[in-house]
Symmetry: C2
Subunit: 110 residues, 2 copies
DNA sequence: GTCTAATACCTAAATCACTTAGGTAATAAG
DNA sequence: CTTATTACCTAAGTGATTTAGGTATTAGAC
């Protein structure tokens, strides 16, 4: 586990990117995928995730579809065209940030 | 300028690392050095910097020396042995974080 | 069969680093 | 003499995230 402070400001980008790469997913599934991709070091909390999903939906970057799975509800999220444009920008902004931090901290990031 | 949210959680690491690399410095000088190293994209605000310096001093990671420069006060900060250990840890933690983010966002950070 | 862990959604109060917005004062430039 | 820069500082406000709750279904262990 990383110190959680570093994660701040990256949650939206992570959610959008994972949804862009893996298509239709529901909230809980996103937490599991991120856990997998990060080898267990990024554990999204539900208290942060659900409000973020609702916000991204409200901004038109995600759209939803509620499905009954037996008696259990699943709310699937898909990225919109607008969301794809946004994630592209956010990821490249993140990469720029990392390059800058590499200069400031004088380390190689690879 | 990067979106400032990404910077959250990195301020202490930046301050400690810059002080480790450049030796004795005062607050204003740190803002200028960081601005330089980041090619103008990281502009530390004083409202964040000074409380951080005081906190790091309180934790024993920095020590200070106040010098009169003509009629102007300058408070020089130096990193302590404890601070050096801390910065080493924080930087490698940051590098780990970047690697993890590289996996999650599926991008090369170099 | 029932108890716990995992799945699956959600909200709301509290936290805390940081921004914003102040304040003081010396020096340099025009 | 007025503005920009240097140089320190504090405190209220902000906002993303944590913490701490709540509801309910399904699977596995004992």
């Amino acid at each position: 586990m990383h110190s959680p402070e570093l994660l701040k400001g990256t949650l939206q980008t992570i959610v959008l990117k994972v949804l862009k790469d893996h298509g239709k997913m529901y909230g809980y599934e996103i937490t599991q995928r991120v856990k997998e991709l990060s080898l267990g070091s990024i554990l999204l909390t539900e208290g942060a995730l659900y409000p973020t999903l609702h916000r991204l939906e409200g901004e038109g970057l995600l759209k939803t579809e509620t499905v009954m799975f037996g008696k259990r509800v699943r709310k699937y999220y898909t990225i919109t065209t607008e969301g794809k444009a946004s994630v592209k920008e956010r990821v490249s902004e993140f990469v720029d940030f990392i390059k800058t931090m590499g200069n400031v901290l004088q380390v190689e990031m690879n």
